[in-house]
């Protein structure tokens, strides 16, 4: 289940989730095995792993990227995300 809010801000307003670089990913599935929040899902076919549930990703957590041997996972800029959260928080979470 996705978290509905983060710091009082609707989670859906916070674009924090991993991005997979498919040129680097070797489908070792370490990230999927690591993440307890079911952010990733496996697929049949050419692309074997996708970010299926970005809203499940814990804001500011980058732990899956640290399990990635080929360094194929990136996250949004943290400072920009903090600034966005602070702005939305100041607006009362209405965004």
């Amino acid at each position: 289940m996705p978290e509905s809010t983060f710091m009082g801000v609707p989670r859906s307003k916070i674009p924090w989730a991993p991005t997979i670089d498919y040129h680097k990913c070797d489908y070792c599935m370490e990230c999927d095995e690591f993440c307890p929040h079911r952010v990733f899902e496996r697929r049949e076919g050419h692309v074997k792993l996708v970010v299926a549930n970005p809203g499940n990703c814990v804001v500011f957590c980058r732990a899956c990227a640290k399990t990635c041997g080929p360094d194929a996972i990136t996250f949004p800029d943290k400072q920009e995300t903090v600034a966005l959260i602070k702005r939305l928080h100041a607006e009362g979470g209405k965004g």
Binding site: A63, A65, D71
Partner: protein, 286 residues
């Protein structure tokens, strides 16, 4: 104190080959015992005594961290840990492809081995920084708790004096200082904590920056700082006995900071009773 080294086999990537070289050099220069990761994985009993009697140094090649995972799987406390790919990245360099090490990679391995043995020769690396010790502040132990019950689990939360971010990290504030640690809910989710990597003393962090890391037999967790400030102290007792976080999550602080933006930071934190409501919701969503 004697040492054991658990390193990447070095047969997958050049970073691994460097890790293997670091292990060999450490064994040659310090007499530490090398633990074969393949043999440990296949027959853990073979190294039971070596792991129980020695401080363990883990050398990972790449972020897959096979050696760390093996250490966690055996429930062994880790004294020091290095990751070759991080060192290469921090140096702004890259390794040549291929598993045979060139002069540059061999030099890197030598420097890493020297760095590890210096750290372990052996003053705790986080307190080596010169300078006057910061004054002690009064941080009172939490006395009154809110308890969230979910199935067979009970999660305790201090009713007052602690502030939480949505990443399950607390700050206890006294004057212009704060101590930071992780919540009872998070430690129960992580299960047995085997390694704490505290931040560097003197490091300046902004709210939501990483403030060290924790590893357990189940997962790795970056400590996301609830406050902005400068690290003035780290809890060596917790680094030496990571299981203390499982035993006393609100007494086992990880770092102490001089606060630089508390009023602003506070606006994005919740108090104990509000965090208890968050924990109730998170536990129900699991």
């Amino acid at each position: 104190m004697n040492y054991a080294i658990l390193a990447c086999t070095g047969l997958d990537k050049p970073e691994g080959s460097v890790a293997r070289e670091v292990a060999i050099r450490l064994a040659e220069t310090t007499g530490a015992k090398i633990i074969c990761p393949v043999a440990l994985n296949r027959t853990p009993a073979r190294y039971k005594r070596a792991l129980a009697e020695n401080r363990l140094i883990v050398v990972d090649g790449c972020a897959t961290k096979c050696a760390s995972k093996l250490a966690a799987a055996t429930g062994t406390k880790v004294a020091q840990k290095v990751l070759v790919s991080d060192v290469v990245k921090a140096a702004g360099s890259a390794l040549d492809p291929g598993l045979r090490l060139g002069p540059g990679a061999l030099e890197l391995a030598r420097k890493m081995a020297d760095g590890i043995s210096e750290n372990e020769a052996f003053t705790p690396k986080k307190t080596r920084r010169a300078g006057e010790a910061p004054a002690e502040m009064e941080f009172e132990a939490a006395s009154d708790h809110v308890v969230v019950v979910h199935d067979k689990y009970e999660f305790r939360i201090p009713a007052t004096g602690y502030y939480f971010n949505a990443n399950d990290v607390w700050a206890q504030v006294a004057g212009t200082r704060a101590r930071v640690g992780i919540s009872d809910y998070l430690q129960q989710r992580l299960t047995d904590i085997t390694y704490v990597d505290p931040p560097e003393i003197g490091a300046t962090v902004a709210q939501f920056d990483e403030l060290g890391a924790i590893e357990s037999t189940k997962a790795a967790f970056d400590v996301i700082s609830p406050v902005s400030g400068v690290v003035v102290r780290v809890n060596e007792a917790v680094a030496d006995a990571p299981e203390s976080i499982n035993e006393d999550p609100y007494g086992s602080w990880i770092a102490e900071l001089d606060l630089t933006a508390w009023d602003e930071d506070r606006a994005l934190l919740v108090d104990g009773p509000a965090y208890a409501a968050d924990v109730e919701r998170k536990a129900a969503e699991e």
